[in-house]
């Protein structure tokens, strides 16, 4: 993968003259220089990639673009004319909009209400609903988005909400759009839809800044990419002139030979096995959300669990961990049947579960690092119901060092750590329990390249120690690079098992889409890679 240049050779929409330019932008916060002399230019109809590790300054740059922050120095030009973006309102007037990672729709309002929020269509003192819906419909149609304008926002999928956000920006006549990790939570199919919408926007001459951690996808839609590191502007390159390795090198500031640490694993007997796991769909009781006959992981093995978002990967593992109740489930740990009805019981059996969304259900963000590390360890710190604080501090310090968590102190509130360090705190919480089996859901979502590598190394160390690891991931290179064996989930069922060493991304996608390799249908050829692999 690494040797292949990014540019896929598909026809590029012709990009016009310069639309937007930032020049020499600097911004300091107390004690930190967040941006130092950064420049960036976007042409009409261009999608300009912006990459960098977490904390490199991408978000700060976006916030300066959209008037949330004021730059200490530097100038913004639109179509060559200098402008001042001193408020979000001014940014809106100038046609600059941003689609944030956390979407900002009002869940109880309709799509049309959300698109025109704050500036409803009126006739006299009354809101003209019919005109508003008609206008919303026109905007959605223009973008090729088939969502009913009367749908209430909370019923939309993440991808649909994002589309509504984009429609909202377009309804404000935005010409410059910043997309902050738009594909982070989308399925492959939804990504294709998003890219189609982006294509429509390009044809309309909208210039876009596209932030992403997924370097692969930049090749599909960007012509140029700019790199930031530690607030410094590293450079802008045409993707067709640069390899993945060179790009990663620019991002991390050191040559990176491989994204995944090489590793030989010693695989033992079956450690954790689940049979007959069934759970009904909450929204539709007539179907099963989880319907797995058998899934197992051996000691010292990493089992990759692939599948589309919403296929039921997380739900299966929540049943195994006792976080959700299953209609039926049989569990065996090291060959002995066990009953697990709650997370507490799973933990007592030395099973750990690092959740998909750290901020939502993995960490207590308002509490400090030590507290979070010891959260699942409390029973063993307690003597007659009281906590031995010194032992707690020792335990937390030991795992802070082992995992190289970057924090000013164990008393630091976890909210203030970067994504990678938060993930390490989550891992520390489970490691200190000497887990026998670890379920880890999206281990590297939203964390930067350097921290990713560290997490991978840590998983390898764990498997060396004989821990059985179940890794759910939506990043196919990660599944292939880290797992020994891959199961692919489709609509709550295991739709195939692959040897990670020989599997290809296409095979996984094929199984994830519900096809079955055993029926003799060949995998559809998505690129030259599958041909080479078969």
């Amino acid at each position: 993968m690494g040797e292949k240049p990014f540019h896929t050779g598909e026809e590029m929409v012709h990009t016009g003259e310069e639309l937007f330019r930032l020049e020499g932008v600097s911004k300091s916060f107390p004690g930190v220089k967040a941006l130092d002399n950064v420049s960036l230019s976007v042409n009409k109809g261009e999608v300009h990639g912006l990459v960098g590790e977490n904390g490199a300054g991408k978000s700060t740059l976006m916030k300066i673009m959209t008037g949330v922050y004021h730059a200490d120095a530097g100038q913004i030009y639109i179509e060559g004319k200098p402008v001042r973006v001193d408020s979000t309102r001014k940014a809106q007037e100038l046609g600059i909009a941003i689609i944030f990672q956390e979407l900002n729709l009002c869940p109880h309002l309709t799509v049309a209400d959300n698109i025109f929020i704050g500036r409803p269509r009126m006739s006299g003192p009354m809101i003209n609903d019919r005109a508003m819906h008609a206008q919303a419909r026109r905007i959605l149609d223009e973008l090729g988005i088939g969502i009913n304008t009367h749908t209430v926002a909370r019923q939309l999928s993440v991808a649909q909400r994002q589309m509504v956000e984009i429609a909202k920006a377009i309804s404000m006549n935005s010409r410059i759009l910043a997309l902050d990790e738009p594909t982070a939570t989308l399925t492959e199919k939804e990504i294709a839809q998003l890219f189609a919408i982006i294509g429509t926007l390009r044809a309309k001459g909208v210039g876009m800044v596209y932030i992403s951690h997924r370097l692969e996808e930049l090749g599909h839609i960007c012509e140029r990419v700019s790199v930031l590191r530690d607030g410094q502007y590293i450079g802008t390159r045409f993707l067709k002139d640069i390899t993945t390795q060179e790009l990663v090198g620019m991002i991390v500031g050191r040559p990176m030979t491989s994204k995944f640490p090489k590793h030989e694993r010693k695989i033992g007997p079956i450690a954790l096995e689940a049979r007959g796991v069934r759970r009904r769909d909450k929204l539709n009781a007539s179907r099963y959300k989880v319907d797995v006959d058998r899934v197992y992981v051996r000691s010292g093995e990493i089992l990759g669990v692939a599948g589309l978002v919403g296929a039921g990967r997380t739900e299966i593992m929540r049943c195994v961990f006792g976080a959700d109740s299953a209609e039926s489930i049989e569990l065996e740990l090291d060959g002995k049947p066990v009953k697990i009805r709650s997370p507490g019981q799973a933990i007592a059996h030395k099973i750990g579960y690092a959740t998909e969304d750290r901020r939502r259900d993995g960490l207590s963000l308002t509490l400090d690092v030590q507290y979070n590390i010891n959260m699942a360890y409390l029973p063993r710190l307690a003597r007659f119901g009281f906590i031995d604080d010194r032992a707690g501090a020792r335990n937390a310090e030991q795992y802070r060092q082992r995992l190289r968590v970057k924090t000013p102190s164990l008393r630091q509130i976890t909210r203030y750590l970067s994504g990678g360090n938060q993930q390490k705190v989550v891992l520390a919480k489970w490691l200190c329990n000497n887990v026998r089996a670890l379920i880890i859901d999206e281990p590297t979502r939203g964390i930067d390249v350097g921290a990713k590598y560290e997490v991978y190394e840590l998983l390898n160390q764990l498997s060396d120690a004989g821990v059985a690891i179940i890794m759910i991931s939506s990043e196919l290179p990660e599944i292939l690079g880290m797992s020994d064996r891959v199961v692919v989930i489709h609509e709550g069922k295991v739709n195939g098992e692959l040897d990670a060493k020989r599997a290809t991304q296409e095979e996984i996608l094929y199984l994830a889409a519900g096809y079955n390799l055993l029926e003799g249908k060949a995998a559809p050829t998505l690129s030259d890679r599958s041909a080479a692999a078969v």
Binding site: S342, L367, N421
Partner: protein
């Protein structure tokens, strides 16, 4: 990478290493000291022994109910039934003494009654799934109603207790003083507070209460029994209310079905003034104690200046809203 840790966040120093609750305790502690100093300088009577002891006695109720509410608030709930539980326990204890139950049975029974109200609150919230605000608003009426039913809506007096020895023994709890004039109830307030502070900060269930309030789902997935933990918090609140009810009826030598009306709100106000977060996950018994002292000093000082009680109400309300506004601002900044 360092930038990612520190960007826009408080710089690291010895001060920022303190927990938020401690920082807030320091802040509200200095407000308390300031108030105290202002009243001490501007009014001769304020520092008099009689007035000081009176003031301490007044804060007994806010503090003890406030401790219980602090447990509830930290674990992300609330308990609006505390004032009613207090009345119920106060009536129960006097009623039992009147029918001749010995004091060493009557008091534990009344305290158990408090725990029972906590269990019922916990059951309504955790098992029936009613939101804490509504659940305890409902049980507030239930307990108040039961208190009325028990004595037909009329106050009962300890002078009707048949045994004079029991009358005297009961009075000592809330009305008695040590040889150096310090009321036993004040000593009980501080000792009980210290005990609860120990439970909250050093015990396993104390840690779990913080975890439940900060992020319930993360707590559950970390193997914490969140239902049991919150049940415990409601029981502490019920127990505290009962203790308070016993002390008050002892001091007043009577029990009234209307006792403690609105005390839960004053206690919440005191706890929040002291720095307990209404959003859960933050606070300490020290916060509740300081908050109660601020309320007490303020009320007492305003009394000495003959500010009428309606104005007092308005002033306390203003201060509470102001304190919450400061808290909200802090939340916005850190979000």
């Amino acid at each position: 990478m360092n930038a990612s840790i520190n960007a826009g966040q408080p710089r690291t120093g010895s001060f920022s290493n303190l927990s938020v609750a401690t920082k807030k305790a320091m802040l509200s502690g200095s407000v308390l000291a300031l108030l105290y100093a202002v009243f001490a300088i501007s009014n001769r009577q304020f520092l008099g022994r009689g007035n000081q002891i009176n003031m301490l006695q007044q804060i007994v109720t806010y503090s003890i109910i406030g401790y219980g509410l602090t447990f509830c608030l930290i674990c992300g709930g609330t308990d609006l039934s505390a004032g009613s539980s207090m009345a119920l326990a106060g009536i129960m204890v006097v009623w039992m003494l009147r029918v001749g139950v010995p004091i060493w049975v009557a008091i534990p029974l009344a305290l158990s009654m408090g725990i029972l109200t906590g269990i019922l609150n916990g059951f309504t919230i955790e098992i029936l799934g009613v939101v804490p605000f509504i659940a305890t608003l409902g049980t507030q009426w239930v307990y108040r109603g039961l208190a009325n039913v028990l004595i037909n809506g009329n106050p009962i007096y300890t002078r009707d207790i048949p045994s004079q020895a029991a009358q005297d023994a009961f009075y000592v709890l809330g009305g008695g003083r040590t040889s150096f004039w310090l009321p036993y109830s004040v000593i009980i307030t501080f000792v009980y507070g210290g005990l609860l502070a120990l439970v909250l900060s050093k015990s396993k269930v104390g840690r779990q209460i913080y975890a439940c309030g900060s992020n319930p789902e993360a707590a559950r997935l970390s193997g914490i029994n969140t239902v049991g933990t919150r049940m415990f918090a409601y029981c502490v609140s019920g127990f505290s209310a009962a203790l308070c009810g016993i002390l008050v009826s002892s001091r007043l030598s009577s029990a009234q079905p209307t006792a403690g009306t609105g005390y839960e709100l004053e206690a919440i106000a005191a706890a929040v003034l002291g720095g307990v977060s209404v959003n859960g996950g933050e606070g300490s018994i020290l916060n509740a104690m300081i908050g109660a002292l601020i309320m007490g000093v303020l009320r007492n000082g305003l009394n000495l200046f003959r500010v009428n009680s309606f104005w007092q109400q308005a002033i306390v309300g203003f201060i509470l809203v102001g304190a919450c506004a400061i808290e909200a601002r802090r939340h916005r900044q850190s979000a």
